[in-house]
């Protein structure tokens, strides 16, 4: 599902975000990505979501060769990759419902179908009763769950999460992780960047470790 072949990402300032990284994630896998701050976790995820382009090497996601993807095809690629951020990136002038509905609206899904899917996604993350609320009025954990609902509402084959539990207490973090496991059980391929080694070591999943922009460890779960 996700292939990296000798991928290097050099930023304009000359910093290497990623150096010669190769790996393969199979469909339906759930993988954790860890490493110190500045190791290149976000860079790796950005290459998959095409927020950045690789400097060298080849990235293939869900059958698309991102190295050669045309600019106007990027939106269609992003619809197949649900992205979750530490800072949620919700739209504060929209309700929870409308935030979660955005990927479906963007993809031109009909009104009824949208309503049905948004409620299903909100129900899944336990926030159906908050559909009319505005993100500002929610706690950090709740906002994160809205972000997760938005990432999965269109049923993308790949979901990425960049430190989704960064600001959450251990109980909430476990809750979020178990949500991810539920998505994984219905066939979604997940790649989750996190610092929380203690939490992920108790879960039975593959862990990739980056160190100074290199992939130094890849342990099957």
């Amino acid at each position: 599902m996700i292939h990296f072949d000798n991928v290097t990402k050099r930023y304009a300032e000359g910093y290497e975000g990623l150096s010669n990284v190769s790996f393969h994630i199979k469909p339906g896998e759930m993988v954790f990505l860890t490493g110190h701050s500045g190791a290149g976790k976000s860079t790796l995820l950005k290459l998959i979501g095409l927020l950045e382009r690789s400097t060298r090497g080849q990235v293939r996601v869900a059958g698309r060769n991102l190295t050669r993807l045309k600019k106007r095809e990027i939106p269609y690629h992003r619809r197949d990759v649900g992205m979750i951020f530490q800072d949620h990136r919700l739209l504060h002038e929209l309700t929870v419902f409308d935030n979660v509905a955005m990927p479906l609206v963007v993809a031109g899904i009909g009104h009824l179908e949208t309503g049905r899917r948004v409620r299903a996604a909100l129900d899944k993350v336990g926030l159906l009763h908050k559909e009319r609320a505005y993100p500002i009025t929610l706690s950090g954990g709740e906002q994160q769950r809205v972000g997760i609902a938005r990432a999965v509402v269109s049923k993308p084959p790949v979901v990425l999460a960049d430190e989704p539990t960064g600001n959450l207490d251990p109980a909430l973090s476990r809750e979020i992780m178990s949500l991810f496991e539920q998505f994984n059980q219905v066939g979604v391929t997940l790649l989750i960047a996190t610092h929380d080694i203690e939490l992920i070591s108790r879960m039975n999943h593959r862990i990739m470790t980056l160190k100074q922009s290199r992939l130094v460890e890849d342990s099957a779960g």
Binding site: G49, R64, P75, R78, D80, M83, V106, Q185, V186
Partner: protein, 325 residues
């Protein structure tokens, strides 16, 4: 079970691609048109400011255009503006004059032929000059019969009118023909200049409307920077992101056009009284003509188009600069 549902949903189309469904496309456009209208109505003051500026910028050339049109109509309603006076020879009597009139009426390029008989002329002269008694003393009427010839619009142009004059001057019984050419020429020249002026002004103010809308949309794009970024992040195409801004521009232009229309109607209403009073003094039944349906439609479509174009330019320049990070 759950796994199956997911697989099935994906199986329909392995990857996201462009989907063309005309019905959905149309509905989406309608939705965006309405929602961008809603967005404008949620900031009524700034929307009113922008549309009022556009309205004033459009009302000025449109109003002047109307004014020049009215002036031209007025010049047509004035006797003698482009009419030719045929002074007949003294010996020509009434029945011969009538024959001449028949002849002239058949001639191309002439809309109206009218006789001012020497009796009529004398009476009028008596009335206006006040030399009543002196004229009574005359044994014979010294005035000739006069035929007034009004050329049609095509033959009212100075060159054409002059050609007509030399032509009908050759007719039997005509002493000489007189056309107040200088006056016609001047008036023609003035209205031509005014027309050009209105055109230039219209072009300049149209450009101003483009800039106003462009700048407004640019600010809106800046204000919604975060929203645009996030929308791109979840897979919105550029067309999708562009659409609400384009509709905003369209609405700005359209409402600006409506404000211009209202301003012109109000000005006409304010001018109508004094104008008909003035016309009354000149024994004329001239009335200011207002905007006809075609002009109104042209004004609204034109202003909406200017708004669309202005936002198109702004969107083209500023939207591609925003990329998610």
């Amino acid at each position: 079970m759950a796994r199956n549902t997911h697989r099935k949903n994906r199986a329909a189309s392995q990857l996201s691609t462009r989907n063309y469904n005309p019905a959905i496309w149309l509905i989406r456009h309608l939705q965006v048109a309405i929602s961008s209208l809603g967005r404008l109505s949620r900031a009524p003051f700034s929307t009113l400011m922008t549309t009022a500026v556009i309205g004033i910028a459009l009302a000025l050339p449109a109003g002047l255009h109307l004014l020049v049109g009215n002036l031209q109509a007025l010049s047509g309603s004035w006797d003698g503006a482009a009419s030719i006076s045929l002074f007949l020879e003294q010996k020509v009597e009434r029945d011969q004059a009538d024959l001449l009139i028949d002849q002239l009426e058949k001639q191309a390029g002439i809309t109206e032929v009218r006789l001012i008989s020497r009796e009529q002329a004398l009476n009028e002269f008596k009335l206006l000059s006040g030399f009543n008694d002196a004229l009574e003393a005359l044994e014979e009427n010294p005035l000739p019969n006069v035929i007034v010839v009004v050329p049609d619009e095509a033959h009212s142009e100075p060159a054409e009118a002059e050609r007509l004059v030399t032509e009908i001057e050759k007719l039997n019984g005509v002493d000489y023909a007189q056309l107040d050419l200088q006056w016609v020429r001047r008036f023609h020249g003035i209205t031509e200049i005014a027309k050009r002026g209105v055109l230039v002004l219209g072009a300049l103010l149209g450009l101003a409307v483009l800039l106003i809308v462009g700048n407004t949309i640019r600010l809106e794009i800046q204000n919604r920077h975060a929203e645009i970024e996030i929308t791109k992040l979840i897979g919105a195409t550029n067309a999708f992101i562009r659409r609400p801004f384009l509709y905003s521009g369209l609405w700005y232009g359209f409402f600006g056009g409506i404000i211009a229309w209202v301003m012109i109607v109000l000005s006409l209403w304010l001018l109508a009284g004094p104008v008909s009073q003035l016309a009354g003094l000149y024994n004329s039944d001239f009335d200011l003509s207002g905007l006809n349906l075609l002009t109104i439609a042209g004004l609204l479509c034109g202003s909406a188009f200017l708004g669309l174009l202005g936002s198109w330019i702004a969107v083209g320049r500023h939207l591609s600069e925003i990329e998610p990070t």
